[in-house]
């Protein structure tokens, strides 16, 4: 170590004193975000030991299936119905899209069962639960429009069974299941954006509050009370 050299730089705290003085809305928003979601919580290196269970895998499996659905859906929409109804490669990508949806819902339902039976809304995680419910509902609407786009007898049957229910709610004027072009646009623009946005918010909330501990974990568990590890700290919010 050379004595005359420059002193090693001190690591800067996430929220500096200058930040605290700033009165702009951008500064206030940055401070709020860094307090609620510091980088080590957003992208953690480690998780508590109770996360080492297959039941905790299904949330990530659902997201993996969603990635397959979004990528295959992008390929389908760029090539168009003639391609995916007629060509062999089009059939294959269309099938990847369909089976991605089947797996997406199966993983999501197992994730839902797991979280329901461990009362995952505990410890200030109400909004995490609500965004999960919302993503399930929006996904069902998106899948429904997808089944209408099969353009076969099944799709026709589903559309004409659903139209009366939708018309009864008054939404039929804006969401007309008998209008194939309109349903196609809902399916490839607004609804995927809605699913992606709600799922992203759900994941950010999981990062903010930490993965919910098992019901039988003691409040005195060192992983839930210690403040020196990010995941443990995040789980200290249990009420």
């Amino acid at each position: 170590m050379s004595l005359g050299g420059p002193a090693p730089a001190e690591p800067e705290p996430a929220v500096s004193e200058d930040d605290e003085k700033s009165s702009t809305w951008t500064g206030a928003a940055r401070r709020w975000l860094l307090r609620r979601l510091p980088p080590d919580k957003l992208l953690p290196d480690d998780q508590p030991s109770y996360v080492a269970s297959w039941i905790y895998v299904f949330g990530m499996a659902t997201i993996a299936a969603l990635v397959f659905i979004l990528i295959s859906g992008l390929v389908l929409s760029l090539n168009g119905p003639q391609w995916y109804h007629v060509s062999e490669l089009g059939h294959f990508v269309n099938s990847v899209h369909l089976w991605g949806v089947e797996l997406f819902f199966m993983f999501m339902v197992v994730h839902l069962w797991g979280k329901f039976w461990m009362a995952a809304w505990r410890g200030g995680r109400t909004l995490t639960w609500i965004t999960g419910v919302l993503s399930f509902l929006v996904s069902i609407v998106t899948a429904f429009t997808g089944y209408l786009l099969q353009t076969n007898f099944d799709a026709q049957w589903i559309a004409f069974e659903a139209k009366d229910a939708l018309n009864a709610t008054g939404i039929g004027a804006w969401f007309n299941v008998a209008n194939l072009g309109q349903i196609f646009m809902w399916h490839i623009t607004l609804l995927p954006l809605a699913v992606a946005a709600v799922v992203a918010l759900h994941v950010v909330l999981v990062r903010m509050h930490g993965v919910v501990p098992p019901l039988d974990a003691a409040d005195s568990d060192s992983q839930l009370t210690s403040t020196d590890a990010a995941p443990s700290e995040s789980n200290g919010e249990r009420s």
Binding site: S49, I55, M106, V109, W113, D154
Partner: protein, 55 residues
């Protein structure tokens, strides 16, 4: 032509349906629900690999 007609008949068919008294379910739906229940039970009881190495 006959192949196309066969395809149309398959696509327009109601599918196989199991029924027990007043309860009836299409075989595809039954398979999906069964697979989800099996996955759930396996997830609860199967050991997770590398469990001992974690803190």
């Amino acid at each position: 032509m006959s192949h196309a007609l066969e395809l149309l008949q398959t696509a327009s068919g109601p599918g196989l349906i199991f029924s027990w008294g007043p309860f009836a379910i299409q075989v595809g739906n039954l398979v999906v629900i069964t697979v989800m229940i099996v996955l759930f039970v396996l997830a609860l009881f199967l050991p997770f690999p590398g469990e001992k190495r974690r803190k």
